[in-house]
């Protein structure tokens, strides 16, 4: 009853091509923006901000990045962790080499550097597809981590091999990285970044570049026959995807943990981001957020649930149960809706359009 596009007529193609053509969606996104920008920072505790909100935002950037590559362009990748590590180390090198460089440009620069690295590892995609490409991208994962471990230049010759984010401020004196930064400032800075990146990703996927990616994904031979250059299109997907993953890695090192070693970006992270994309929904920007929320929130809920329910379960038992329930839920979701949470959301919206008159 409430969610209807009835009566909302589009009289121009420009109006029909908006990201949110339905009024209720625009109100919804406005509410989410107000909630995220205005309400949450006032009420969120430090624990909630640093263990839920910030990792959720960081992982959503990475999930958008992988979704562009795997969900939109159809190129399976297991190198996400390696690209995130590249972003983190690029940000570290940039901010220590150019201490006066604004932190915004440090993040963007680390994204650009990662994009170049991503393109180099994307070259095999012209020849190999599917699982074989996934194995080829594993090379990126292992090679990049090995490189950051073995070459001391990347850590500025630190003996522990760990990099710590230098303190940096925006607008003169608002610290957003380093130990003195307030968690709310970190959160808001990251939120604005995520919002802009998500908007850019959505726009890219609905313009001609995005259509070229999807054409390559759905049928590469037909795409080539209508004039799409396969190599350029695949490499552009690798570049944009790695740009996002690089910024996610930089945000991880600089805003989420504050200090980072290469091992933090192990193959486990690559799989985690891949699960986010699959559970959230391949080929959906919104799904990337759903997937990130699922993967970040669920462990927190599962860890805290026994206490809230008054159950007295030993800690090691909880962590084992967490893995079991988590695995079972992933399988359950994939059986119920193989197209992910974004598809469930879409079905829900379609049902709502007809409600309460299903026929």
């Amino acid at each position: 009853m409430l969610y209807r596009e009835a009566g909302q007529f589009k009289t121009s193609y420009a109006a029909d091509q908006q990201i949110f053509p339905i009024l209720q969606d625009r109100i919804g996104i406005g509410l989410i923006a107000v909630l995220a920008l205005g309400v949450l920072p006032l009420f969120a505790t430090e624990y909630m901000t640093t263990t839920i909100l910030i990792p959720f935002l960081v992982m959503s950037i990475a999930a958008i990045g992988l979704n562009i590559l795997t969900g939109y362009a159809g190129q399976l990748s297991l190198g996400t962790g390696g690209f995130m590590a590249t972003g983190a180390f690029a940000a570290y090198k940039l901010s220590t080499m150019f201490p006066d460089l604004n932190i915004v440009f440090v993040f963007l620069g680390s994204g650009v550097i990662t994009a170049f690295v991503g393109v180099m590892f994307g070259i095999p995609s012209l020849r190999i597809k599917g699982f074989y490409l996934a194995v080829a991208t594993l090379a990126a994962q292992f090679f990049l981590l090995w490189l950051f471990n073995k070459v001391p230049w990347f850590t500025n010759y630190s003996s522990s091999g760990v990099i710590s984010a230098p303190p940096r401020a925006i607008f003169g004196d608002i610290m957003v990285t380093g130990s003195s930064a307030h968690y709310t400032a970190k959160y808001l800075f990251l939120l604005v970044f995520v919002g802009l990146l998500a908007l850019a990703a959505k726009n890219l996927t609905r313009c001609h570049l995005g259509r070229a990616w999807m054409a390559i994904r759905d049928m590469d031979i037909a795409a080539e026959i209508i004039g799409i250059k396969p190599l350029q299109t695949k490499l552009s997907a690798f570049a944009i995807s790695s740009f996002y993953c690089g910024i996610a890695g930089a945000a991880w090192g600089f805003i989420y943990t504050g200090s980072v070693e290469p091992l933090a970006f192990s193959i486990e992270i690559s799989f985690k981001v891949l699960f986010m994309v699959i559970i959230g929904g391949l080929g959906s920007i919104l799904g990337s957020f759903f997937g990130a929320a699922f993967m970040v929130l669920l462990p927190v809920i599962l860890t805290n649930a026994p206490h809230l329910l008054g159950l007295n379960i030993p800690v090691d038992m909880i962590s084992h149960l967490e893995y079991m329930i988590f695995g079972a839920l992933i399988i359950f979701f994939l059986i119920v809706e193989p197209h992910g949470l974004a598809r469930l959301w879409q079905i829900g919206k379609e049902k709502l359009r007809l409600w309460p008159f299903p026929y």
Binding site: Y13, H208, M219, E224, I226, I228
Partner: protein
Amino acid sequence: MSSSAVNPVSGSDAFTADGRHKIGGVILSVQNISLSFGGVRALTNISFDVREHEVLAIIGPNGAGKSSMLNVINGFYHPQEGKVFHKGQERKRMRPYMAARAGIARTFQNIALFKGMSALDNIMTGRNTLMKSGLLAQAFYLGRARKEETAHREFCEKIIDFLEIEAVRKTPVGRLPYGLQKRVELGRALAAQPEILLLDEPMAGMNLEEKEDMCRFILDVNKEFGTTIVLIEHDMGVVMDISDRVVVLDYGRKLADGTPDEVRANQDVIDAYLGGGH
């Protein structure tokens, strides 16, 4: 969709009495093409011309090499011998996307649509080669990108209108029935405003009404835009009705080449289709 908006032609002498573009000179010429896969000879020494604005049908029994011929024309197969001349210039070895950019579009025997995308997006993708806006403009949907999207959308809507698929423009094509998918595929090929349109069995598996619709679309495309059409078809009634010229292939060799009436009377063709000693 008015022809002047898309394909301005000055002077009335360019048209025949029934409003078609007059058949012009040779636009595409294949000469002595031979193609084999390992020991299998798919095409042997085939030559024919395609003239501007005509409807040319390629017919022949299964396995005669018809689809291979189209694949040679749009650069998907590379023949071992022979040459292809496009607009009088010999064509170098090329990738299929270059053919598309040179104005040769095609549809497939087995529908090759982008299944996850809507009908509209499929057709818009057909215009991808004409879109030029840069990465940042697209990322923030600024100026040029926005104008471009809207302008191309307008053109695609004309095609949607023309093919009578307005009702399904936002439906993912995987969910559409076969006949509509064929139309969307034609629309995607038309979106690039090709000079030559290669249609591989556009009417396969259709009932009589759907075939009639498809014939109407093909003839209208030829009449309104002057698009040169090369089509493969098995339905002899359709071929004899709509084509200006017919090329007959059998076992990779050319049997005949001429107007439908000439081909119908050709003894080799009768033998191939009805068996020798008839």
